[in-house]
Symmetry: C2
DNA sequence: TGTACATCAGTGAACGCGCGTTCACTGATGTAC
DNA sequence: TGTACATCAGTGAACGCGCGTTCACTGATGTAC
């Protein structure tokens, strides 16, 4: 029988889980390393067996987040095939769904202030996830009349920014800035208007 | 001759200023009340003469931010008159300019997690500022063919989200997510595409 | 199968530190006469 | 103009607290023979 708080082999995961729970409750800087240890039922000192400190712990949470995020985006993208349009919409929706379903990871990734460049591994996993959005954008942009086609990178940056903005302002309990529209509708409509502006959807086909 | 650190009459402002500097350097939760006091050259206890605590101090920074923001947006809006289109573009640009020029205020307003509902005064000043964006949107939406006109609130929510997303991801040193495009261009192009999608700008007029 | 030993992942005590908050205090400023 | 007094905005000492970090330690697990 294990002693209270004795987690051989899985403390690392338990700490990340506790960290995520705390991030959701108190924000990325609203808790201490000791608190995270307590959450996992363990002495603060034990944390140092697995992480260099608080930042390192959050970076690991973000890393896992980008992993999940990448998978989600990839699935959405593939499910939308072979239509470039459907695939593109699906990745947008997946962004929002991810933020809803994994708020702790989302915060660790986009609001905690930890750098994507922090470790090569974090960089790689983030690049992969965001690359899928760019791929979807590139594919769709082939359908755009050449003379009004923006660079696909700009294209995906726009959609990313829009999704992120909607999440930040309207989807999470961003304080007091509720809009009268559900965030999903907001995003859906925004992408629709945007794509019409690009000529990907015909003007009449409203 | 005043003693070192003796600020009769203006400590309140000095504290807000110090707080803004610290927010820029360390983020909205990266400093303590004592640090803010030190920044203003004053004992921690002195802070309690003017604020209830750290949160209250940040709320005041946000309040001043919304005030400035409202003025900026209003000027931009008025300068763009009488063209609804020009006025609208100008408010979008003003959003970005504000984030650039007053990063501390911007963070206090949109990233510190303090609620717009915190005090009636904060609520009022925020509502005023954001109302200008809605006004510009409403005015512009009169130019949109009725059958494809989204509610102006949705319209302004889109532009707000897009601006906010661009600021968060690309304009401030958001870690490692530099895009190859200047944020101003990103926003300008995004709004252009979006307005084309709405039919406010003719499709050919690219 | 049993024993001896190395490794590993935790404990818990200890440390110095800066924090938030309170309190009686002090000295500068403003006001009445 | 001078004086007495109230008010106001700061000081600085004190407190208890939780934090991060270190360290020697312990006992469970895995491995060799």
């Amino acid at each position: 029988m294990a002693k209270r708080g004795y987690h051989p082999g899985n403390l690392r995961e338990a700490l990340v889980k506790g960290c995520l729970a705390l991030i959701e409750q108190k924000g990325p800087t609203g808790f201490s390393l000791s608190e995270a240890a307590r959450e996992a039922g363990v002495t603060p000192a034990a944390v140092y067996r697995h992480f260099e400190g608080r930042e390192d712990l959050i970076a690991e949470a973000a890393r896992q987040g980008y992993d999940i995020f990448g998978d989600l985006m990839e699935h959405a993208y593939n499910d939308g095939q072979p239509s470039a349009l459907t695939a593109f919409y699906a990745t947008g929706r997946a962004y929002l769904a991810f933020a809803n379903k994994f708020p702790g990871h989302y915060i660790a990734m986009f609001e905690s202030g930890i750098s994507i460049q922090r470790t090569p591994e974090l960089n790689a996993v983030a690049t992969r996830a965001l690359g899928i959005l760019e791929k979807a954008a590139a594919q769709l942009s082939e359908h755009i009349p050449a003379e009004k086609r923006p660079p696909p990178q700009m294209f995906s940056a726009h959609i990313w920014a829009m999704s992120h903005g909607i999440v930040e302002l309207f989807a999470r309990g961003s304080p007091g800035t509720k809009s009268p529209f559900p965030p999903e509708d907001l995003l859906e409509t925004a992408i629709g208007v945007y794509l019409r502006g690009l000529g990907v959807i015909p003007q009449d086909n409203v």
